[in-house]
């Protein structure tokens, strides 16, 4: 019964979304208020319908209805309740449904919050949001249906007796409960981690979040209301999407670090890159819309950026879901590949064509011209250039080069992580430098002398820090350069906060704490932005330290013996085998870690034997300064092999991420009405 209800709800949601597109677009075109309202109401009803469908799938997962092929493929009787729930996004079909659920929730919220204020924009915005949603609901309904069930056709030839279908075939028999339970496959053990519990929904939230500014921008183009209304309506949505995307990327890195056992968190894998691309475009966008708001400039550019961000979101979804990453051939045979590619191409084409049409009518002309190379708007444009260069480099390396070489030369050409690093290091350095310069420059025009004067203090602090680092023994040029630019950007942010607070103290006589508080309250965006910049600085320092100064070693030792790494030593104490509640066997090594002769931690790295694969679970002693990260490679009671990583400052990557989220929340937080 659950499957039938879920299926009906899914079909209803799809029908409502399709109706909402037609009613809203037609209503807006003919200025028919009734039709527009009807379109809006249909759009609002999509969310409860998708929620019901998702609820059915979750309930099937929780109550172990293994006849549903999806439940069968991602859970088994041993799966604990939490992972039964997260199995909702454990594979393609569930993920697509979750995508639609989040999208419909965002859509409803956007309609609820903006309907009264943005009357002119809303109907077309609804149409564009519903078009995206209808596409994904259609995929769930017709291609990747999560409500397919296993059936046995007794009359069919043996090889075709077991099938999974949406509708019940005539004369079909349901498989027996016992066989279904015995055959169920269980969730991929790699996905059993808190990072994987939150990471995919976060990324999806980021992805669907950027659909909203896109829909409003398209609506502005379609309706001809090209004022800053669409930016005002969607500024917060962009920031929310950006928080989620950033948090999703960082959590993904954390998952890789904890679970994949190679001591790193970012491998320039095409799947990672596909999620990073929309972030780069989105970051360029949230910066450059500020110039349109303040100065009425870059109207065409911002439209292009929001279209490119949406296009990158769709491409990222397509790339990770269609198999194109595995090979061009597997893409051609993937069921969702062509529909997704077609949708992506169609939306991008429609968007660019509409933009071109408005632009040629001269409706996107800027109100000011660029007057000065050192002005803040120029800095923002340069920042955009850097982000787009990063985007192009990463896109080229992950998709452009492999796909074009395969199509043109018949042989796939790829690049490795070291080439990605070669591309991005100079661009990231440029990004940090601009992050430091831009806040010091003024709108309109800045003279070189004024900029120089403002630079004095941050540069002095940076020079002192680098000097201290060099004295303490850091001699690598790459590291000094990396730390230098990151610190410079951070000092500028701190200095700007200090300067603002000092001015308030002088003119209003406030105390430091009060002055800083008032500063953040009065200009959330600006000072929230500085906190984000500080977060990016902290992440940068963590990345430089943990990449350049990572120590890695592997040794086999007898019980009671020790391995020495830097000023750490690890003693192998004991080995035990134990069974976990879900039935897997765990091989656990007990070790004691000493630093400079003092005991600092007892760790238990282990190998879990899952039916699908063994999995190494690292033992880690984490401090702000270092992660001592140890993997048990193999072992028995007498001898064991350990692989040890010492990752300096790696925790700054996560702490910087938290800072970045806090800063964005400050910038996006609705102002309290006085």
């Amino acid at each position: 019964m659950t499957a039938e209800i879920g299926l009906a709800a899914l079909a209803l949601a799809f029908a409502l979304a399709v109706y909402a597109i037609a009613a809203s677009a037609w209503g807006a075109r003919k200025a028919a208020a009734g039709l527009m309202l009807s379109g809006r109401n249909a759009a609002l009803l999509v969310f409860p319908a998708v929620l019901l469908a998702t609820g059915c799938l979750v309930s099937a997962l929780m109550t172990e209805q293994y006849q549903l092929a999806y439940v069968y493929s991602v859970t088994d009787p041993q799966t604990p309740a939490i992972y039964r729930f997260t199995a909702l996004w454990g594979a393609q079909k569930g993920s697509l449904l979750l995508w639609s659920l989040l999208m419909s929730a965002f859509t409803s919220a956007a309609i609820g919050l903006n309907w009264r204020v943005e009357r002119r924009l809303m109907p077309y915005a609804v149409a564009f949001m519903m078009a995206t949603l209808a596409f994904f609901l259609g995929l769930s309904l017709f291609v990747e249906n999560p409500f397919e069930r296993w059936w046995i056709l007794p009359d069919a030839p043996p090889a075709e007796q077991v099938i999974s279908t949406v509708l019940i075939p005539p004369r079909a028999i349901a498989p027996s409960e016992a066989n279904l339970r015995a055959g169920a496959e269980g969730l991929n053990p790699l996905l059993r981690h808190f990072g994987m519990v939150i990471h995919p929904p976060m990324l999806y939230l980021g992805f669907v979040g950027f659909t909203i500014p896109f829909a409003f921008a398209m609506s502005a183009l379609a309706s001809g209301d090209l004022s800053t209304g669409w930016i005002r309506a969607t500024r917060r949505w962009s920031l929310i999407a950006w928080i989620c995307l950033s948090a999703g990327l960082i959590l993904g890195g954390r998952w890789a670090y904890d679970v994949l056992g190679w001591g790193g968190y970012w491998g320039w894998d095409p799947v990672e890159n596909a999620a990073f691309l929309p972030w780069l475009m989105g970051t360029a966008f949230i910066h450059s819309v500020m110039i349109q708001e303040k100065r009425g400039m870059l109207k065409l550019w911002n439209m292009l950026l929001v279209i490119a961000t949406f296009s990158a979101v769709m491409f990222g979804t397509f790339a990770t879901r269609s198999g194109v990453i595995e090979s061009v051939h597997s893409f051609a045979r993937s069921q969702v590949g062509f529909p997704m590619l077609a949708f992506w191409a169609a939306m991008t084409f429609v968007a660019l064509a509409t933009l071109l049409w408005r632009w040629r009518r001269g409706e996107l002309r800027d109100e000011h011209q660029f007057a000065n190379l050192l002005s803040r708007e120029s800095m923002f444009v340069l920042n955009n250039v850097v982000f787009i260069a990063l985007f192009l480099a990463i896109f080229w390396g992950s998709f452009g080069l492999p796909i074009t070489s395969e199509l043109l030369l018949g042989v796939e050409v790829t690049i490795g992580a070291e080439t990605f690093e070669f591309y991005v290091v100079p661009l990231f350095i440029a990004m940090y430098v601009l992050m430091g310069l831009a806040p010091l420059s003024a709108w309109g025009a800045t003279s070189a002398r004024r900029l120089g004067a403002a630079l004095k203090a941050p540069l002095a602090f940076t020079a002192m820090s680098i000097g201290a680092l060099a004295l303490s023994g850091t001699s690598l040029v790459v590291a000094i350069l990396g730390y230098g630019v990151a610190l410079f950007a951070g000092f500028v942010a701190l200095f700007e906060i200090y300067r603002g607070a000092r001015a308030r103290r002088r003119s209003l006589g406030e105390g430091w704490l009060r002055a800083v508080g008032a500063l953040f309250g009065r200009n959330q965006r600006r000072y929230g932005g500085y906190i984000v910049h500080l977060g990016v600085t902290v992440i940068g320092i963590g990345v430089v330290a943990s990449t350049v100064f990572q120590t890695e070693t592997q040794h086999t030792i007898a019980r009671g013996d020790t391995i020495n790494v830097l000023d750490y030593s690890l003693r192998y104490d004991d080995f035990t085998r134990a069974q976990a509640v879900d039935g897997r066997m765990m091989n656990i090594a007990a070790v004691t870690v000493y630093r400079a002769g003092e005991e600092i931690a007892r760790l238990r790295p282990r190998i879990d034997d899952y039916p699908q694969m063994p999995m190494k679970i690292a033992g880690a002693h984490s401090t702000l300064e270092n992660d001592f990260y140890v993997l048990l490679m193999s072992g028995d009671r007498e001898r064991a092999t350990f692989r040890i990583y010492v990752n300096p400052l790696v925790n700054l990557v996560w702490w910087g991420g938290i800072l970045l989220v806090i800063g964005t929340v400050i910038a996006a937080y609705p102002k309290v009405a006085k």
């Binding site: 046995i152 190379l373 490679m633």
Partner: protein
């Protein structure tokens, strides 16, 4: 435009023009720098991604850094944990296949498929290195016929993808 009434002196217009030249020059410099970065990186780092068959049939590939993909033969996996050296064999998977899981299984069953010995030094043995996994390796084929890999990526489609026809279920009619 209304700025006529302001009657800006000619100097201002000139300044405007010189600013524009500066912008265009800066833009061109950045564009060229990014292009140089991309092109030089690609020329240096580009690796052919080929099959085991292609690697073994063309002597020109010997000694060159390439990327290859193949199916891991589980029985051949040998890990020397004292020296952190992984050795195993991979079997050629054809360039075109219906789905990866089937292609891997069939490749390993094919007695005539070409095999290649792999060695990876100073590496942690990955959890996913097991029978019927797809190994994607970066490295070079040595004179001894062994492929020395510097990078090892693994995919195990058969274990995690939604199954198309579970064998266990078809037994049911007889039980009922």
């Amino acid at each position: 435009m209304t700025d006529v009434s302001w009657a800006k002196p000619k100097g201002a217009q000139k300044r405007k023009r010189s600013e524009r030249v500066k912008f265009i020059a800066a833009g061109l410099i950045i564009l060229v720098a990014v292009l140089i970065l991309l092109i030089s990186g690609t020329l240096q780092g580009a690796r052919y991604f080929i099959t085991v068959d292609e690697l073994l049939s063309d002597a020109a590939y010997q000694g060159r850094t390439v990327r290859i993909a193949g199916a891991v033969d589980g029985e051949s996996i040998d890990y020397d944990s004292e020296r952190a050296i992984i050795r195993f064999e991979i079997v050629n998977i054809p360039n075109e296949y219906e789905d990866l899981a089937t292609a891997l299984r069939e490749a390993l069953l094919d007695k005539n498929a070409r095999r290649l010995k792999i060695v990876v030094e100073d590496a942690a043995i990955p959890d996913l290195l097991q029978h019927e996994a797809q190994a994607i390796l970066t490295g070079a084929l040595g004179r001894d016929g062994v492929f020395a890999a510097t990078e090892l990526l693994l995919k195990c489609p058969s274990r995690f993808e939604e199954s198309t026809a579970p064998e266990g279920l078809s037994r049911i009619p007889e039980h009922q």
